[in-house]
Amino acid sequence: MSTQKTAAELGAIGCHDCGLLVSEQFLESRQSHHCPRCRAPMHRRKPLSLAKSWAYLLAAAILYIPANMMPIMTVISFGSGAPDTIMSGVIHLAAAGQYPIALLVFIASVFVPLLKIGVLAYLLVSVQWNLAAKRRQRTRMYRMTELIGRWSMIDIFMISILVALVKLDAIATIEAGPGAIAFAAVVVLTMIAAQKFDPRLIWDVKEKTVK
């Protein structure tokens, strides 16, 4: 049995949408860039993967600062308002003795976005520097960033529920804050950054450079 090849080495492309393996010659003969089965546009690698991924990631990293500095919501009770940032929200929960929930919000809102930004930056740099080590591990890291990003939306959903529920005029009202917009943008931008990254680039580093 001969050794396995990559689709690129075979002059073929695996369809991103339906998994069909299509020869590039066949596409050329048909003068088409679309999958013959599902009609999705076909690329050997995601186009401009690194540049696009970097752009979304940098935007996310910048917005991470206002997301944490600005209030995400304000509780107005009998005329006086108490603005909450992401971190002060976690501290309030812990102070009330709600440790598991405080930990959950901390992981989802503080830890996960930072981890995601860090991991994606590491993956992008490792590809640009043609790093050949730990490819399997880096692919696993990528898989993880795709899975965990969505869970950061917990705080946004929580605020949406509080804003809708707590509107008792003078007694108690909860309003959203500008930090929430920045935070939601961080979540969405890191999700798009992960989608734009092509994990196959990790494996495109030529075998001979592996020591």
């Binding site: 001969s2 050794t3 299509v22 020869s23 990528y142 705080d155 959903f157 949406s160 509107k167």
Partner: protein
Amino acid sequence: METVLALEKLESYTDRYIACHECDLVHPVRRLLDGEIAACGRCGAVLYQQRRNSMDRSLAFALTGLILFIAANMFPLLTFEMEGREQSNRLIDGSLAFWKSGYWELGLLVFISSVAVPFFSLISILYVLLPLKFSRIPKGFVYAVRSIEWLKPWAMSEVFILGIIVAFVKLTDFATVTPGPSMAAFVGMVIAITLANVTLDDRVIWRLEEDIRTGNEL
């Protein structure tokens, strides 16, 4: 057990071999037993899997999900009581409240991820599977099949449940909060959507489509 040789040359296209979507290595497609998963030998990504009775089960879960979606949207999720006053919210009210207070971006995002995308992903599954069940290929079939995968990352109902739990805990400190009649329906809907997606096998969908298409040409 058949031995399948590694692919040497490809003239047109094939589904008897599959390229790993995470490392591009080409693998021969084997027949799997129910519940078996084929993973990439190099990077460990899941290549494809075999689901028992994928078609009927996914269809049933999607139909259940749609019914529960309607129920989850009709009644309040939570009721909040403080100083003798009461306020309750439906699923849609969070996005409406954002929208009305000038945070339209957040309103839109919450609407998309907790209402629109879960709904349309169920509709896509039903739009594809129901006609196939009766040996028909619906209009815009390929786009509907692709939309199922495209919508997946943006459907966040399961995250919304955790949002409800955190909101609940935050409010119980100074008010009485009780789950409304739609809460059970919403949780059920999340389970049904998850199962509809888990049982769905796009290889079965493409195989059926091909069978129907070539059958019609004969």
